[in-house]
């Protein structure tokens, strides 16, 4: 005879579905959380809700048409995607890009970094409950969108690069407007910092949350601000300079405590460094052609290449294989920073509370368009 011994109170884990429709998962991320009370004991990140098969689509498109598809990956920093793709093809075909085009690309990339970080700051602060910062950050992002609108007519998906250079020269007076924006941005950064950096609640909510030591960050494959927040000095702009970064003077901020607060500080400092780079690039903008010597029919020689740039979210890499015969890539593969950084999420949220989960999703700064492609 066996006795059925039961504890007086059963404790069960609560399985809760965060997303794909949830205000703080930044799109259609789904996180299945197993909770003990409010503490996360296990999690499962489900992606794929925004999969459009962009990589496969690219393999059946003309080399020039692909620029437009790359817009749709990280849609908050579309120009950065364009630059990454164009540079990869240029590397494959050994095309020399004129200096002016490289400078303009640098300006565009840094404007996109600020725009992307504005969106990150706004949504991250909003997730933690500071909703005013959200609207302040969007106010400044709007100025960048206006600048892009003036340059290429679009506000979100720019299609703003061409293989070998730029589609258009800068509109007259654009450079002065960019400098004006730099002044505004520097003032507004002080405003953001006043609201958050030394705010007791902000400190309590972000310090010591989601600590990921440097070795582990490297092992998981983090890149961009999350990696630098863990104290690893790695920035492709410095390490393998592309566009005009080798001619720019800037610093790469890194964090110490490896937590959410340090990732926040790193990104805030990146705002400043971006403004600094834009100033230098606009002031030193050379005259000259905007497109290099590009054949009428773009058909790279057979071969394959990988080229990575530092997107606002981390290492954005393109692997492209050409067979030398067709006018479309044989294989097109993207290494999106959001996808790789998202791997760290289950590790980060383990043992934290539900309220920290949203803070940590924000702290990694993912864009689902890029994760799923």
């Amino acid at each position: 005879m066996t006795t059925d011994v039961r504890p007086m109170f059963d404790t069960d884990e609560l399985v809760i579905n965060m997303g794909p429709q949830h205000p703080s998962t930044h799109g259609v991320l789904r996180v299945v959380l197993r909770l003990d009370g409010e503490r996360v004991v296990g999690s499962d990140v489900v992606i794929g809700y925004l999969h459009r098969g962009i990589e496969k689509l690219c393999e059946s498109r003309d080399w020039t048409q692909i620029v437009l598809l790359t817009d749709r990956m990280d849609y908050v920093a579309a120009a950065t995607n364009n630059i990454g793709y164009c540079q990869t093809v240029e590397k494959l075909m050994s095309i020399e890009v004129p200096r002016r085009a490289r400078y303009v690309r640098t300006i565009m990339a840094e404007l996109q970094r600020i725009a992307s970080h504005c969106l990150w700051l706004g949504t991250h602060a909003m997730d933690i409950g500071a909703m005013t910062v959200f609207l302040y950050a969007f106010r400044e992002r709007e100025l960048i969108l206006d600048l892009f609108e003036e340059y290429c007519g679009a506000r979100l998906t720019y299609n703003s690069m061409r293989i070998g250079g730029l589609p258009l020269d800068l509109p007259p007076g654009w450079d002065r407007k960019v400098l004006g924006f730099c002044d505004v941005m520097e003032q507004k950064l002080v405003e953001y910092e006043e609201l958050l950096t030394n705010n007791r609640i902000w400190l309590e909510r972000t310090k010591g949350i989601g600590v990921i030591p440097a070795e582990e960050a490297v092992a998981i494959g983090l890149s961009g601000p999350p990696l630098r927040g863990s104290g690893v000095q790695r920035d492709i702009r410095k390490d393998e300079p592309y566009a005009a970064y080798d001619e720019m003077r800037f610093e790469v901020p890194i964090g110490k405590a490896c937590d959410t607060y340090d990732r926040y500080l790193v990104r805030l400092e990146e705002f400043r460094q971006s403004v600094r780079i834009i100033r230098q690039a606009v002031e030193g903008l050379p005259e000259g052609p905007i497109v290099g010597k590009v054949p009428r029919l773009i058909k790279p020689p057979a071969g394959e290449t990988y080229h990575a740039i530092e997107s606002p979210k981390g290492e954005l890499g393109y692997f492209i294989a050409a067979d030398g015969k067709s006018t479309a890539p044989y294989r097109f593969r993207v290494r999106p920073p959001s996808f790789c950084n998202l791997q760290a999420l289950p590790r980060l949220i383990q043992g934290h509370l539900v309220a920290d989960v949203v803070a940590l999703i924000g702290s990694i700064d993912v864009v689902l368009g890029e994760v799923d492609r």
Binding site: N17, P23, E38, G129, T132, L135, Y136, I201, E204, R205
Partner: protein
Amino acid sequence: MMVDQVVIPALKILIVLNAVLVGVTFMVLLERKVIAWTQARLGPMRVGPYGVLQPIADVVKLMTKEDITPVKADRWVFSVAPLIALIPALIVFAVIPFGPEVSLFGRQVALYITDLNVGLLYVVSVASIGVYGIILAGWASNSKFPLLASLRASAQLISYEVAVTMTLVSMIVSAGTLSMVGIVNAQESQQVWYLFVQPLAFFIFFVGGLAETNRAPFDMPEAEQELTGGFHTEYSGMRFALFFLAEYANMIVVSAVATTLFLGGWLRPFPNVAALSFLDLVPAWCWFLAKTFVFLYIFLWVRATLPRYRYDQLMRLGWKVLIPLAIANVVVSGLVKVLL
């Protein structure tokens, strides 16, 4: 006799109740406007000039919305929970003194519904029933996010209620009475607002008030970004509106009680300075409303400025900071009272 005991109280209740409900709807507009201005926006601008008729449009919208009860919800509790949240918030107004006795149409009329000799106790006990509405709503929805919200609400309740009640004890020590009218009169006779006598109690009461009304930075039970609306996730239409009404009515209650306890209720500023006696030309109830409004504005201001606490951090704040401070405050107030 009949007039004094039935008609006048009934009229007073009618006026206060309507004023509160209308005030609440416009409070929503005020909140949207104040926060919009803080955030470099305009807020509602479409309905009426500068959007002043927005509350009416909101009410009409909420009334005509479909009222959904989830299939698995506990129907009875689900429908009664919004009322449990709202009614205590409204009946607290019975003891709020809006002004002293005045003569109206040749009659002495007191500008409060009633003056209980245990008014403060009544406020505390009734106001703490309101949170049951939230707890039951989260439970009855039979859904996971609301359940987490109601857990948070119960944890929160224990953390701040003790501290707030302790501060009230020190107020009683200062005033020597539990009656709300008595407390205002005590401030008049001692010629000082209790804000200056008991600044610490004021601070604790205000923080506790933010937590009691579930307002930012203590809006964990709602926490839209974490719990997708928290306890009212499954509510819609007018039942949802009742929770909304309750939240804003509670804000007005906390502001009104704080005004009575700490800002001298209906008294004019600096009641001890004779040179300012021209301020008495303004009716006393106007002073009361103005002071309450200041509090309400601070509520909105805080919401627009601060991030949200985590609920374990609120509990730490409640147990490790507010309650020891409140107890120390009671002891010090007692000693001062006895020794001086």
